[in-house]
Symmetry: C2
Subunit: 166 residues, 2 copies
DNA sequence: CTTGGAATGTCAACAAGGCTGACATATGCT
DNA sequence: AGCATATGTCAGCCTTGTTGACATTCCAAG
């Protein structure tokens, strides 16, 4: 009564190793599609996926601090700083010294930053929308449930906080 | 009757920009969890995610050719070759000259290769299993449907071929 | 007021893993 | 014989991650 059937006779066939393996591969191939469109846009400029992530989360939570962003992105400050430096130099991001705490830097998208953010997120949303429409609302609900269960505890909290902040 | 409601009054609220954005972020955070466990195992050795992918798909389709693997992984031969070279040198992968066509190399996991593959895929399946169990069979079906709809056409075909080959 | 710690920025060095371009080798096919 | 295919390899470049060290600025506690 483990991993395939249950005492009541209810099949747990969705937990077989083969089903799990298919899920793993689906995740791998789908993530490629997920990033493909923004990647194409970015490759025309001198930017990569790291820039996209920074732009996305700054646009998502304007005024966020560097530390905040660091936690969301899960990279080192040196890594993030390199990306932020170029975005600021190129006039896509603005960094304002904190009011309450002047050590903190609050990050905002400039007009140009918002423009690029729009292009990127339009492309990514278009793919998502097609997939959602194709799969239907119940499938989408399941999709979200499985993804949330797949996150690390920390990220689950970060994700929920972000999600509920609108 | 676009993007929010339909003439019949059926809500399409799951296609709102806000819902799509949440799906995008869920995908981002979930993928981190998805790769976290194998990454931890690999970082102890001199290997990375690229080695994991190669090992996974060779274990998945033993005897696959280099070209085949190239198509699945979507990287350049130089990139793949660097990874394969170390895996072969370390005795995890065996490369056999083709029988019908001697230009081709067929790739197999050695005993040691299968051992590592097992560790990695056990870890990844464990997380997947927990997520699946947590979300339930209907959610899993929806998860799979959305992921498949999110893939590029090419990858969708590759994925299906791979999936049906068992 | 001094001092410790927090938040941030920056420099240097390095590694993984992508990429392009060029070229070599062996083999298969026409 | 000659072209195409499959593979390997060298060299060089880019992005994006890492660690370690150090400076600056500022808050807050003693």
């Amino acid at each position: 009564m483990q991993d395939g059937t249950r005492s009541g006779g209810e099949a747990l066939l969705f937990l077989t190793d083969e089903q799990l393996r298919q899920g793993i591969e689906a995740m791998f191939f789908a993530y490629r599609g997920f990033t493909a469109d923004p990647d194409r846009i970015l490759s025309d400029m001198a930017y990569g996926r790291a820039h996209h992530r920074a732009i996305h989360f700054i646009g998502r939570a304007p005024g966020t601090t560097v530390n905040n962003l660091l936690n969301i992105l899960g990279v080192t400050k040196q890594s993030l700083n390199r990306v932020l430096r170029t975005l600021i130099a190129d006039g896509l991001v603005e960094s304002r010294v904190g009011v309450a705490d002047k050590r903190e830097r609050h990050l905002f998208l400039t007009e140009a930053g918002r423009a690029l953010e729009g292009r990127l997120s339009n492309a990514q949303r278009a793919r998502m929308r097609d997939a959602y429409r194709n799969a239907g609302p119940e499938a989408v609900a399941g999709f979200r449930r499985v993804l949330e269960a797949m996150m690390d505890g920390d990220m689950q909290r970060t994700y929920t906080r972000l999600k509920d902040s609108l």
